[in-house]
């Protein structure tokens, strides 16, 4: 309240709700719903009042209560109100009913356990058929919200929804529902949205929707925003449901009008609509390349964001580089953390989707640099796995090497930059990659990188312990690889051997011992490129059996489990940081009791029995440095040995491929007195799993627009080319990426446009009535450049029929296209008789007055066809089109009079069979079209009935003749 705390007044609001005046009551409820937090205890004080109001006889009080219910009630109050609200669904007043259904939905949202879904669905089925459109409209909200989660229970509503929508678009709702002459636009939108949810991945349900969607779209397109909103909703639904090509074309058409619109709002819709459609049908994007580019550069941020969304959805392997580049550009320029998060996820998913790709390393690296805080651990994990394992399937060793080399170059360059700005994760990844693969670097020697890493640790006072550990481990790895230990490295390791961090200290001391006592073992402890290899661990310590039995034979005590021996100093030391953590589960019982041992120098161990397995270059710091506790006799030191082993497995599973069963040194029984740690296990510090990458501008793929700054238009075209599947920018880092070099900018655009233009001309000749060659759709033909060819071909094809079908008996093949247009009684063989066409048709009834006139069709008269009954029988079956007439007749009361009529029309009387009162006749029009007639007279006198079947090779001809004869006979 004006910046002050108004909570002192809340109690007054509650009192107000109990007032007898309805205005006061509403105001009280209003205040409570606006001000009381969900946890506020006053909410409970209102329950009673709401119940009382619900049972009131006044509609207004019930409404007040229902409105309050949706905003005041909480989950545990639902049972108190439920039954009362349920009753309101059958209330007389529609105002109450429409509120009650929303309240029920609210209950379902709050307490799904007390308002069963099934029950609600039943209610909804009833409510949607309510006689009041408002109630139906409000129930749609509930259906929409529930169908989006689970469409199944609503599938059977599709038919009713369609019929409702039909009624709406036919303006059958009261005029009050119209908004600027659009009938109930919001209800329309809701229904269409529900249809989308119901028709998704369901061709059955979708089938029924096609027609109504097309119609709705057509009717809504009235040029105002409310109409466009409905059209847009249709577009979204069309792209969502089981695809239908006609509708998709219509949707694409609507989108293209939106996107080319001057209005920014409609442009926005064009872009979102396009994003919806390209996901499943990328071909529609091509037509709008330039518009998309313009939207991307629009000054309106909202539009830009939508366009990025569109780009994200139309990514393919060709344009992925350009698009991620764009997304990263945008990411760099924004401060909105929601957008940053969203974009980061998008970039990650893009990079992953097209993962085995050099781009991946760069992209993720840059992503870290820009918005490291939003990058999830899995992403970094994946990056390192990718670098370690290589692209995968085909064991393409060269490509892997190149990839690693490339990453090393990126990270080595990154070392030059001030580290203060880099996120810790990035530094960790960088250190790991350098430690593993620095030897691949072309630009730097191992020593140089080593020096840089040393520098990094020395200067990095602000580095986290975990990061420092990883860098030090990397240094150790590099020393092992280089074979020499430069003084800086030695100094650092020496420094850290006094570190307060036990883990780090241990790592350093171990390493010092290794390097002084057994330099030749270094390669084995820290092997090159073995991070993917599994470490085999013997949890039973079976290699100790011989030693143990010997010790027992020598009179040593049997091992006793001393779990609770926690005052042992040695325990803490050996367990390092981990062992001090309180453990809820007891350690596994060691099977082989270690009686006593004295650890000597590691050199002795190494020379005799290589217990140290190939640990894949993982830091050896987790191992127990027994050289530190000389002559300790402790049984339980062996116990914690199980712990790092478990962790080793975890690490191996995260990093490596499948267990590769690599040759691990099977431990031989050690000589007495020479006991060393069973395994130098890597320390699975949590930070290890996270990654970072580096950020290197010079390596970033530049969009082509930046590489060549020529005139604006050209630049945009290039962008379009890069975007729309043409080619990718060519100045990307020259790593083994097989990509067709782009020669011209226009090239990729042109071929895509050509088919688009060509498309309409394909069907065009079919649509064209052959009788109207002149008004061919000129603009289309113009574009095509073969106007001269297309139309004449059409005409000649039609004329050819005469020549090609000399046999008058065979049905002419050209007849078929004409069936589809029965309204045009056209004959393909006479394209120039257009004017005579309709005359022939409409003259038919008129000419019936003149009994003697023969039948004419398209200006050609019917001539008798002289054949025998047997021939007639043969052809009867082959003639396709039958036009039956059945009419009472006053003129043809006998067979003879019928045959006379036939003769007068111009038919040949083949045979008259007086016994059955049947007759057959034959005729021909224009030398090609065949007419066969079978007539039967039944009854006599006034009740005479004539049944005639006219069969003809041409459907139009048959129909015309039938009509003609009917007039003659009647």
């Amino acid at each position: 309240m004006l910046g002050h705390d108004g909570s002192f007044g809340y109690i007054k609001a509650v009192e107000l709700a109990a007032s007898s005046s309805i205005i006061h009551k509403r105001t009280g409820y209003l205040l409570c719903s606006a001000c009381l937090a969900p946890s506020h205890e006053f909410r409970f004080m209102l329950v009673n009042q709401m119940q009382r109001d619900l049972s009131s006889s006044s509609i207004l009080e019930i409404c007040a209560s229902l409105i309050a219910v949706t905003s005041i009630i909480t989950g545990d109050m639902v049972p108190a109100m439920q039954s009362l609200v349920l009753k309101m669904l059958d209330h007389n007043s529609e105002i109450v009913r429409k509120k009650a259904i929303i309240a029920m939905h609210r209950f379902h949202q709050l307490a799904p356990e007390s308002v069963e879904k099934q029950e609600l669905v039943e209610k909804l089925r009833k409510v949607i058929c309510d006689r009041d459109p408002s109630v139906m409209g409000s129930s749609l909200n509930v259906i929409e919200s529930m169908a989006a989660v689970d469409p199944k229970p609503f599938k059977e509503l599709v038919a009713s929804l369609i019929s409702i929508l039909k009624q709406i678009i036919e303006h059958r709702l009261p005029t009050d529902f119209e908004y600027h002459r659009v009938p109930a636009p919001w209800i329309q939108m809701k229904i269409i949205r529900i249809l989308a949810a119901l028709g998704k991945n369901d061709s059955n349900a979708s089938n029924g929707m096609y027609e109504i969607l097309g119609e709705t779209m057509k009717k809504a397109d009235v040029g105002i925003n409310a109409g466009y909103a409905v059209v847009y909703e249709c577009v979204r639904t069309i792209t969502c449901i089981y695809p239908n090509s006609t509708l998709l074309d219509a949707a694409a058409d609507a989108i293209s009008r939106f996107i080319q619109s001057k209005s920014q709002n409609l442009k926005y819709f064009g872009v979102t609509g396009l994003a919806a459609i390209v996901e499943s049908h990328p071909q529609y994007a091509e037509a709008h390349q330039m518009s998309v580019i313009e939207c991307l550069e629009d000054r309106d941020e909202t539009l830009q964001r939508r366009t990025l969304d569109l780009l994200y959805k139309m990514t393919n392997p060709v344009n992925v580089q350009f698009i991620t580049g764009k997304l990263l550009d945008f990411l760099r320029g924004t401060t909105d953390s929601f957008l940053k998060e969203d974009l980061t996820t998008k970039v990650c998913s893009l990079a992953e989707r097209y993962a085995p790709n050099n781009l991946y390393v760069e992209t993720i690296t840059e992503l870290f640099a820009i918005s490291g805080e939003f990058v999830s651990q899995e992403v970094s994990q994946q990056l390192m796995t990718l670098i370690a394992e290589g692209a995968g399937e085909d064991e393409d060793a060269d490509a892997d090497t190149i990839l690693r080399q490339h990453s090393v170059t990126i990270y080595a360059d990154l070392l030059e930059k001030p580290i203060a700005k880099l996120p810790q994760l990035l530094i960790e990844t960088m250190a790991w990659v350098l430690g593993e693969y620095a030897y691949l670097s072309a630009d730097y020697t191992l020593e140089e990188i080593l020096n840089k890493l040393c520098e990094l640790v020395r200067k990095g006072k602000q580095l986290k312990e975990s990061t420092r550990k990883i860098i030090v481990t990397s240094i150790m790895k590099l020393v092992a690889q280089a074979g020499t230990c430069p003084p800086q490295a030695a100094k650092i390791i020496d420094d850290f051997s006094k570190s307060k961090n036990q883990d780090l200290q241990q790592r350093c001391i171990e390493f010092q011992n290794l390097i002084t006592c057994a330099p030749h073992m270094l390669g084995e402890v820290l092997p090159v490129d073995a991070s993917c290899e599994d470490i085999q661990v013997d949890p039973d310590l079976s290699f100790m059996d011989a030693y143990v039995s010997q010790a027992i034979a020598n009179g040593a005590k049997q091992y006793e489990n001393l779990d609770d021996d926690d005052d042992d100093d040695d325990y803490d030391l050996t367990g390092s940081a981990k062992a001090s953590v309180f453990k809820m589960t007891p350690y596994a019982k060691p099977t082989a009791p270690g009686a006593s041992y004295t650890s000597s120098s590691m050199g002795g161990v190494g020379s005799n029995s290589p217990h140290i397995a190939g640990t894949g270059g993982a830091p050896p710091s987790g191992s127990y440095n027994h050289s530190q506790h000389n002559g300790i006799t402790s049984a339980n030191t062996t116990a914690p040995a199980n712990e790092p082993q478990l962790n080793v497995r975890n690490v191996a599973n995260v990093w490596g491929k499948k267990p590769a069963n690599l040759p691990t040194s099977t431990p031989i029984a050690p000589e007495p007195g020479n006991f060393s740690a069973p395994v130098p296990a890597p320390v699975p510090s949590n930070n290890w799993s996270t990654t970072t990458s580096s950020y290197s501008t010079q390596q970033t793929s530049q969009p082509p627009s930046e590489s060549v700054k020529t005139e604006e238009q050209l630049r945009k075209e290039r962008m379009a080319a890069a975007l729309f599947g043409g080619s990718a920018p060519s100045n990307a880092p020259g790593i083994a990426r097989r990509r067709a070099p782009r020669t011209t900018v226009a090239a990729p655009v042109a071929p895509t446009l050509a088919p688009v233009q060509a498309a309409p001309t394909g069907p065009a000749p079919v649509v064209l009535p052959p009788t109207h060659p002149a008004p061919a759709p000129a603009p289309v033909v113009d574009l095509l450049d073969f106007m001269d060819d297309s139309t004449p071909i059409q005409t000649s094809a039609a004329l050819d029929v005469d020549v090609l079908a000399p046999s008058p008996i065979e049905p002419a093949p050209v007849a078929d296209p004409i069936h589809e247009e029965p309204a045009v009684p056209t004959k393909p063989d006479d394209p120039f008789a257009a004017s005579g066409l309709f005359d022939g048709f409409s003259d038919a009834p008129l000419s019936s007055l003149q009994a003697d006139s023969t039948f004419e069709h398209n200006g050609q008269s019917l001539v008798p066809l002289t054949i025998t009954t047997a021939q007639f029988g043969e052809k009867w079956g082959s003639v396709p089109h039958a036009s039956p007439i059945s009419t009472p007749s006053s003129k043809c009361t006998t067979l003879d009079s019928f045959m006379d009529v036939c003769k007068s029309v111009g038919l040949y009387n083949i045979e008259a069979i007086p016994a059955t009162n049947e007759g057959i006749c034959g005729g021909m029009v224009g030398g090609t079209e065949l007419v066969l007639i079978h007539g039967k007279i039944s009854g006599s006198g006034i009740s005479t009935k004539v049944d005639v079947t006219i069969k003809s090779t041409d459907a139009t001809l048959g129909r015309c003749l039938a009509m003609y004869m009917q007039n003659l006979i009647r």
Binding site: I22, R26, T27, I67, I102, P185, Y268, L303
Partner: protein, 165 residues
């Protein structure tokens, strides 16, 4: 679903605010201030939609007053993660027209609506909104059906006053 409807003037003073999901008071003020700042910074030539803090916001300006509708994906579909899950399926243009419809209705109710009408009859504006939007859903868009209960309410209260006098 609709998460909030705001009426804010050019000076950034909120004249009416209605929230359909709970937000603490401090957050409301911050949100209102930031959104109106964003709206003011946009020109006529830009589209009427802003994405802000995960809300899809639609605004429309009438003289000095901004009508702002904020939407968010349906909470139910987010939780379940299925269906259209998480994606905001609101039709922006539909809501833009809804704002206009609201203004037309208010115009009919107050004769010729102005900022002062909203300021001094705030509860009535809320009642109108209550009729039109419930629980974040648009339930009523007819002018007649929306104003009828308001009219009834007014008559009822006048009766009450008469009884007291």
């Amino acid at each position: 679903m609709i998460s909030f409807i705001l009426m804010v003037n050019k000076q950034g003073q909120t004249r009416c605010s209605k929230y359909y999901e709970w937000l603490p008071m401090e957050e409301r003020t911050a949100l209102e201030a930031e959104i109106i700042r964003k709206c003011l910074s946009r020109s006529e030539l830009q589209c009427s939609f802003i994405e802000y803090r995960g809300y899809k916001t639609i605004y429309r300006r009438y003289a000095s007053l901004f009508f702002i509708v904020g939407t968010r994906p349906d909470p139910l579909s987010i939780e379940n993660g299925s269906g259209v899950g998480g994606e905001n399926r609101e039709n922006e243009l539909g809501l833009l027209e809804f704002i206009h419809n609201l203004v037309e209705i208010m115009d009919k109710w107050a004769g010729s609506i102005c900022e002062l009408d909203i300021m001094y009859q705030l509860e009535e504006v809320h009642f109108i909104l209550d009729e039109m939007v419930m629980n974040g859903f648009i339930v009523e868009t007819c002018k007649g059906a929306t104003l009828r209960p308001i009219d009834l309410l007014e008559r009822e209260s006048r009766k009450g006053e008469a009884m007291f006098k």
